[in-house]
Symmetry: C4
Subunit: 219 residues, 4 copies
């Protein structure tokens, strides 16, 4: 059987359990794309629709539109950063796959706090728990991504050669900012929940500009 | 580690944050395919089903079937045009990724206006806001795609060489037609909502025939 | 820019609007996989749950489990046959992409008739319209797949060379069997709806064994 | 047509109906990723929300969060093991594709028992049937994966050469453990349903550490 060795994936380094970084990236992409697209299923008109008021109902849904947008951008930015990181990875090990699955599990959870935020932020007594749930999910996402980042940054044998001599820990404070920001949303949610939501959006925009530490020589 | 450089993606140009056009295309394909398939979840029988009338209920759902078909074709045509465009892209930069994410965010939003259109276009007082919501979403899709197109068309350093000398702006009026068409649906929705829906479908069919400007030499 | 021509997809024949058969296959795979996985969202316990009867409720859902299984296998078999066909395709043209989109639109529609079948086949007056809806969807799937098949079979310039001299029309009667079978379900649904469902399942199992006409020389 | 043979997939062995292992893996990945991401759609607040109690409602949903996590990890572990297995496969035949589809059908079913478990495990009379449904689904997953494993392990002509001389049956007892464990959950569900859930989680964690039998020579 001449073509036995011909599978394209074979040219990648199959590490833990035959997994290549490309497979992990493709699976992660799937979770990112599906979670982002499922967000819309939680934007719903109220069931008890009274005739003639559809226009007002659609306008009253604006917190759901904002929550949809914020979570869509969050997932998009996570997807970008995840790719930036995995573009440097040559092999995966079991811990990396486990940390990555944890991060994906929190990303896939995001449609639920998004729905709660969108439907309850405008209800006086419910804005605080809704903002809290969203902030806690944000903290878990930050934990998940930091875990993946720190594992890769401290295990240079997993990296492509030209990225292996970068000091990844020099970048760790940037993650700390996000975690501190999300944590700060917890007390904020008790005093003024909309401010907590604004901080969460600001954190995502900050990370959309984040850059990984670069190797000294260009490609 | 001999195979460190062997990832197939490495042969593409990893631009902004390690992203290749192929990755952006694959992520976009995921969003297109998921959004198109989620449309059906919003085709639902009324909850309070009276015995023996199922046949009539299924027939009465025809506006939902039409809305499903119109949005499925819209997403399919967007997917086609998106590919036609990205087939020419050799590298992505940060703005292109951002514009593309905005466009995907509107595409992923489409199941909601589709549901509203399908369930409310037949209700006298609700047809106008339902058609308005759908038309506004159409305008945003046109804006998103135009943004991606114009950025690529004015940044030839992102293109494959043989497509770099094409005058992309010569094609811009075609996008204007779509945007004007969708904008025209807004007053139309106040007078006769079904006509607005027909115009939206006509616009999609027009774009299914659209062609990008070709380079002078064949492949 | 030395790597400008290096995108792996470039090695395929980009036909209509830059689309390769691989891209069309990947998009189709996405629709198949998502439609199959969404089927489960329509298996739901009744809302008005009375305490202590959960076991019985779960058992009473058996028509939904059967409908889930039948549609999952249908989509799986369609996916198999779709791949068998596209493995022979070297280039796509506009009509093929359009016919393929129509077929995918019907596949993505399948979760709705599946839900109706599963929840209504056991209700005396509702079994007939539920079976009719499922049979009509089956006919449309057969039409869609036949359209893709016949277009490929009569346009040999789209095929890989070694598959181009096969007489595809010799296989057309097999598609006729399916279409006739689904059409026969329509009168059957009026007399005895469960028999219509059994015929539909039998048709799918028949196609799971179907083989494309082979070229005279082995690979 | 010079590039007729240039499709990358051609370099793989197209076996049954033109399917390559890579295509089967990609389709399976899609099902795994979608099923895992759909789990969150079944985490829902009760409809009849009383004002001011949102915080308590969110806390009371904890069984749904646990069920979400358990099923997400289950699907993640199945995905890992599925890859480990298919990394060794050079060709697929019809039976392997059929067994794989059965396994995927059970995986795609998992969101339903997960929802039932999460919403009913806390209801006194409903915990037993909810745990039973989840355990039976677990048994079917174990059957499906064992079927795929045993077919591959007894058909060495489907394997890459260097994996063909491994004794796969030596590993079969490990699958027996899982099946016995799930089966043991059935009586357990009658006496103390939460214990059945814990056993199910323990089984998944056991399989996350499972390793396929290795060839004698390293890569």
């Amino acid at each position: 059987m001449a073509s036995v060795e011909s599978r394209p994936q074979q040219s990648q380094q199959r590490g833990y359990e035959g997994l290549t970084p490309g497979r992990v990236e493709a699976f992660s992409d799937g979770i990112f794309a599906i979670a982002a697209t499922l967000l819309i299923l939680n934007v719903q008109l109220p069931h008890e629709a009274a005739g003639g008021e559809l226009g007002r109902q659609l306008l009253d849904l604006w917190p759901s539109y904002v929550a949809y947008g914020a979570s869509f951008v969050t997932i998009g930015v996570m997807w970008l950063n995840h790719h930036a990181l995995f573009a440097r990875v040559a092999r995966v090990d079991r811990t990396l796959v486990g940390l990555n699955l944890f991060m994906l599990g929190v990303i896939a959870f995001l449609p639920f706090p998004t729905q709660v935020l969108g439907t309850r932020i405008g209800v006086p007594d419910e804005a605080t728990p809704a903002a809290l749930l969203y902030a806690i999910t944000g903290i878990l996402i930050a934990f998940g991504y930091s875990g993946v980042y720190l594992w890769i940054g401290t295990h240079h044998e997993l990296l492509h050669e030209r990225f292996a001599d970068v000091n990844y820990l020099s970048n760790a404070p940037r993650f700390l900012i996000g975690t501190i920001g999300y944590a700060g949303c917890i007390p904020l949610a008790f005093f003024y929940p909309p401010a907590a939501v604004l901080v969460i959006i600001a954190i995502v925009l900050y990370y959309s500009r984040d850059q990984l530490p670069q190797p000294r020589t260009p490609t």
